[in-house]
Amino acid sequence: MLVTSLLNRKLANPAVLASGILGTAALLLKYVEECGAGALTTKSCNLRGREGFQNPTVVSTEHFMLNAVGLSNPGVEEEQETVRALKKKTKAPIIGSVFESAPETFAEVTSKLAEAKPDFIELDLSCPHLSKEKGFAGYGDFSSNPKAAAEVVEKVKEACKLPVFAKLSPNCASIAEVAQACEGAGADGITAINTAKGMAINAELKSPVLSNKSGGMSGPALKPIAVKCVYDVYGAVEIPIIGTGGVLNGKDAIEMMMAGASAVGIGSAVYWRGFRVFSLISEEMRAWMKENGYTSTKQLVGAAHE
């Protein structure tokens, strides 16, 4: 009932571990599969690696999580090892996430990671906390500008044969236009959405809480934004969508699929419901589908558009 097709791959269920959550080591990713994830996205890497920001990097309230980890990663070569080690351990498809600061380097890091043969590549075109950093000037803008996003996708597709998902940000004028531009440039799928820009301030200490001052907001408060973005993207492109943002339970996942997602990204939900959230979402989806007369996840995709 929950088996889901994503391009040329089968997922045991549509719950995909989103990038940046628990993806720091192959053994942890294997653990996430045991907790019920249908596919696993690695933590985004770039060519040389990054230290990331100082703490506080992640905080949370009951409604939202806010993070500016700063894309810390050990670099693509160590990430290749993670993907290789993971491939030996798991059946779930692996989505290798990458980022860089220019279309050419995006292509370079993608072809390097592709050597380790993940099932898909995800282009993090839209991390919200790097735009002003030196060497990453304009970085946050790849996904807010259709032309810039398309340029990255085009260069990556020239360099890499693997199916490529473009991960888009809600921090833009029209996500539908950006998605269309990516599709036109050869993207095989869209991941929507990345976190929304946000900030929290400690009043007594008169200071933004995150060391980077602002960061990306995820969690339940992001869901309506994500559902609207996925709805818009579905209306604009033919390629499949991984709908990500604020999904906590089976009903949220169904909502996301009805908006147009073929699979559903799960990230911050681990905070609210624990590591087994992936299995819980599958069970809840199954129960709801049974009760409401659905037999396949295919019937859900885009159902709210009919």
């Binding site: 940046g20 959550i21 628990l22 993806g23 720091t24 080591a25 053994l27 942890l28 294997k30 653990y31 907790c35 933590k43 690696g49 990054r50 230290e51 990331g52 100082q54 703490n55 506080p56 990097t57 992640v58 905080v59 949370s60 309230t61 009951e62 999580m65 993070n67 980890v69 810390s72 990663n73 050990p74 670099g75 160590e78 929290a200 400690n202 007594e204 200490l205 200071s207 809480v209 060391s211 339940p220 906590l248 990230g267 911050s268 681990v270 905070y271 609210w272 419901r273 624990g274 590591f275 087994r276 819980l280």
Partner: protein, 272 residues
């Protein structure tokens, strides 16, 4: 935390730093201080808090006492140096408590600490006394000047053994070796260890040999502290959410324990 820890979606769940004010500090040795705050934070021995100094950093620190909250810090780096010089009236951000705790098992326990690993063990010794559990402590340090919290264990009524690497105070030995010697002569209901990971690894091996339940606290770099980011991975476990306290059984076959950890950027580094 177990694998399915349901957290309320609505309620008093705030993992953002709350403001705490320093009320007093106490010098423990030439470079270690205990900092007391103005409020209680319900927490147990082994649990930790994330202490934030705006513009500097936020780091995990083991709770020394819960009511009022207190932490003990060694002045060894930029962040700890800033915590070390906190004065009464200074304000910091605190979130937590995080992680699991040292659970007392049986009526005759052995506490084995190295360096500032003694901090949560002092908290545990106080609880053992309250619950009528007999406790023996091995205080390990590099040299005599580094011995800390001796008085706490005396107040808690512990039988105390001191050992230093250079023999300048107590026995010239490492704390797991003193524990091994004790275990060869006596039976303990459980062993609790906290200190450098190599020391803990040796302790776990000794405990296995003597078939005594053993629990150690695993330290890693931490970012979220609530099981999301993966910075504190130890094998397929997270130090923040599954730990920091692990039993010897849980650590059996863990490829990272005593061997490797992730640095701030996520690169795997060796303890060698």
């Amino acid at each position: 935390m177990n694998d399915s820890f349901p957290k309320p979606v609505l309620g008093s769940l705030y993992d953002v730093p709350e403001t705490f004010t320093v009320t007093k500090t106490r010098q423990e040795n030439y470079r270690i201080k205990t900092v007391f705050f103005d409020k209680a934070l319900p927490c147990s021995p082994g649990q930790f808090v994330m202490l934030w100094i705006p513009g500097v950093n936020e780091r995990p620190l083991s709770a020394y006492r819960s009511d009022p909250l207190a932490i003990t810090i060694a002045n060894v780096g930029k962040f700890s140096g800033r915590v070390y010089v906190l004065n009464p009236g200074d304000r910091v951000g605190i979130r937590g408590p995080y992680g699991n705790r040292f659970e007392l098992h049986g009526k005759n326990v052995l506490l084995v600490g190295g360096g500032y690993g003694l901090v949560p063990l002092s908290f545990l010794a106080e609880e053992a006394k309250k619950r009528g559990v007999k406790a023996t402590v091995v205080i390990g340090a590099r040299n005599g000047k580094d011995v800390i919290l001796e008085k706490d264990f005396e107040i808690a009524g512990c039988r105390t053994f001191i050992c230093t690497e250079d023999g300048s105070r107590g026995l010239r030995a490492r704390s797991p070796d003193v524990a091994a010697a004790l275990l060869a002569k006596e039976k303990f209901s459980a062993i609790y260890g906290c200190g450098p990971e190599k020391m803990e690894e040796a302790l776990v091996q000794t405990a296995r040999k003597h078939r005594t339940p053993c629990f150690v606290s695993v330290e890693r770099h931490m970012k979220c502290a609530f099981g999301i980011c993966g910075a504190c991975a130890c094998g397929d476990r997270l130090a923040c959410a599954h730990g920091p306290v692990f039993s010897a059984e849980e650590l059996e076959g863990n490829p990272d324990f005593g061997k490797t950890f992730l640095d701030w950027g996520g690169k795997r580094q060796s303890y060698e």
